[in-house]
């Protein structure tokens, strides 16, 4: 018997196709998917359809209200087109979100599978570190980190990941712990497979459902956190636009130019709601216990 048949016996492909069907019959999840797709298409195609470049400064057109002078979302205090900046910022904010998803999910999965598989002292130490990271309000830790780094998109993604990997670690650890004593893992042990093989080829694939759910929710969380720290001035730095730093400074013009605050905030809310809805839909789809 080879390792592949061991995996096949656990019967996951069948469940996964059922999960896909359940996901696509969930109306809210589809709405979420639609929101994310629309926003993504807008952010990547939008800039090519607009008459203005996101860095083009026109001081005669400062604070143009939405819809005037060909600026669909108006202009900012430097006369730059908000729509162009919004779409460009969307590319950056979503890229940060996906980078965080990849980094945080990888780190969290490795920590989770190692402590779940080995248990004992290894798990005690690793999971206490997880608890410790969870004890900080992530915005505090994030700002403390952000104040000392070169704030490019890559570093921002790295530090957001540093405050986002713990949930995945906890989920994977719990999942692996419950799988560890099942027959197919016993069989893998008897076949003499290495610990690394069992962890990453047997245990991890079987915990894939919860990991995918957590990863989706991580994107939502990362977009929010990027917005928080960029709004406070410690995130992605202008002239590079991000949804968060477009809101930085919007407060002082709230009375005269409210669109500066409204437009990027709506974009963030749509993106985050979209990813959250998808994550919730995936959770329902993978959860074999709940009905529907």
């Amino acid at each position: 018997m080879t390792a592949n048949t061991v995996i096949a016996q656990s019967g996951k492909p069948l469940i996964r196709s059922r999960a896909v069907r359940r996901f696509f019959s969930n109306r809210l999840a589809l709405v979420g998917l639609l929101m994310v797709l629309t926003l993504t298409v807008a952010c990547f195609i939008g800039p090519h359809l607009l008459a203005f470049d996101e860095l083009y400064i026109d001081l005669r057109a400062r604070f143009a209200p939405p819809g005037t002078g060909g600026h669909i979302f108006g202009t900012d205090p430097l006369g730059r087109d908000i729509a162009a900046r919004l779409f460009h910022a969307g590319q950056i904010s979503m890229a940060v979100g996906f980078a965080v998803m990849v980094i945080a999910t990888t780190v969290g999965s490795v920590v989770g599978v190692v402590s779940g598989y080995y248990g004992g002292k290894v798990a005690a130490v690793l999971m206490r570190i997880v608890d410790a990271f969870l004890s900080f309000p992530s915005v505090f830790l994030l700002l403390a980190l952000a104040a000392f780094i070169q704030p490019g998109p890559v570093m921002i993604a790295v530090i957001i990941s540093a405050t986002s990997w713990m949930e995945v670690a906890r989920i994977v650890e719990a999942e692996v712990k419950s799988l560890r004593n099942q027959d197919f893992i016993m069989a893998a042990h008897m076949l003499g497979l290495s610990g690394r093989w069992i962890m990453f080829r047997e245990l991890l694939p079987n915990a894939l459902g919860p990991i995918i759910v957590a990863a989706t929710l991580t994107v939502a969380r990362a977009i929010l956190l990027e917005a928080y720290i960029s709004f406070l001035g410690y995130g992605i730095q202008p002239p590079l636009p991000s949804w968060g730093n477009m809101l930085n400074g919007a407060q002082q013009y709230l009375a005269s130019a409210p669109w500066l605050a409204i437009v990027p905030g709506v974009a963030i809310t749509i993106a985050v709601t979209g990813f959250n809805l998808i994550g919730d839909g995936l959770r329902d789809a993978f959860d074999t216990r709940s009905k529907g």
């Binding site: 809210l28 004890s135 915005v139 700002l143 403390a144 809310t269």
Partner: protein, 316 residues
């Protein structure tokens, strides 16, 4: 019970040690560091910088610095602020009340409102109300707190002129009513996310209880709907929520930081940002510790309350 309390207390202390170590390392390894401001001033020689480092004890290995700091912290000496030379603990203490007032109000709002929505949704599972409430909760979860604050200021302060746009009280007034008027908006803004989280979990928790045997028994023995609801369902579905209240603390505290910034609320969040701007490391470290301490105490309290309510847990 005593044994359970002691073991949880021990765990919390170990966690505090790890937490403070992580915080210390993060700040110590940061490039720049507390001496970078001197390096920028012209006429400063490396020799002078080294001298200042030696005076401040920054030339020692990080681990030695950490244990020195930790020993002092346990005795209540959290260092002195670089900015104004005041003891860190006093600086934090003078901002603690504002944050606790804001957080306390927000948590009270979210617990009452969130529980009510969650229970109502669960009792009418699948109804129009249930769907609307859960979609609303999802959107509320996804709105950036600071942005919601900006919109609230735009609507209620700038346009309707109902409420003040910031600060904790009007200079020269300071009556309870004046505080309340300043508190309403930031507290509601901060509560928004938490209401959403709370109502979602409360709904799940209530659904779990509704389907249990003892609820059926209570109904079968002819108790009124109201009695079953308040005596059997609400009480039991609140137990797991106590733990959640503890786990939610970091989120609320993080939310308080941005809410305070938007509403110029004189709490720990504003202090944190100001101190970061001034590279005031002792205060930044003190605030990281204070926030983690608040979270640890909250979680400990939540666990003890749950153990008190549910005897099964402390017997484990």
């Amino acid at each position: 019970m005593l044994r359970y309390i002691l073991s949880r207390l021990g765990q919390s202390l170990i966690l505090l040690l790890i937490v403070s170590f992580i915080g210390f390392i993060v700040l110590a390894l940061a490039p720049g560091g507390p001496l970078s401001q001197f390096a920028l001033s012209p006429g400063m020689t490396q020799e002078q910088i080294d001298k200042i480092a030696a005076q401040m004890g920054l030339d020692r290995p990080v681990v030695v610095q950490y244990f020195d700091w930790f020993r002092h912290m346990l005795t209540g000496d959290w260092g002195t602020s670089y900015r104004d030379g005041q003891p860190v603990l006093r600086v934090i203490g003078s901002h603690l009340f504002a944050t606790l007032l804001l957080m306390g109000t927000a948590i009270t709002i979210s617990v009452t409102l969130g529980s009510a929505i969650g229970i109502a949704s669960a009792l009418r599972q699948g109804s129009f109300f249930d769907h609307t409430a859960m979609v609303a909760a999802m959107v509320a979860l996804s709105i950036p707190t600071f942005w919601f604050g900006l919109i609230a200021i735009y609507v209620f302060s700038l346009n309707l002129r109902w409420l003040p746009a910031g600060n904790m009280y009007t200079v020269g007034d300071g009556s309870v009513l004046d505080y309340a008027r300043h508190l309403v908006m930031p507290a509601l803004v901060l509560a928004l996310v938490d209401v959403a989280v709370w109502s979602r979990y409360m709904r799940t928790s209530t659904l779990n209880v509704i389907n249990q045997d003892f609820v059926r028994t209570a109904r079968a023995k002819g108790l009124t709907r109201r009695r079953v609801l308040f005596k059997h369902i609400v009480g039991n579905s609140l137990v797991p929520m106590v733990t959640l209240a503890g786990l939610q603390l970091p989120l609320v505290l993080g939310g308080a930081l941005v809410t305070e910034t938007v509403f110029t609320w004189p709490g720990m969040g504003r202090l944190f940002l100001d101190s970061l701007g001034y590279s005031d490391y002792p205060v930044v470290m003190g605030l990281l510790m204070a926030s983690a301490l608040l979270v640890l105490i909250g979680n400990l309290a939540a666990d003890l309350v749950v153990a008190f309510l549910d005897p099964r847990i402390r017997l484990d």
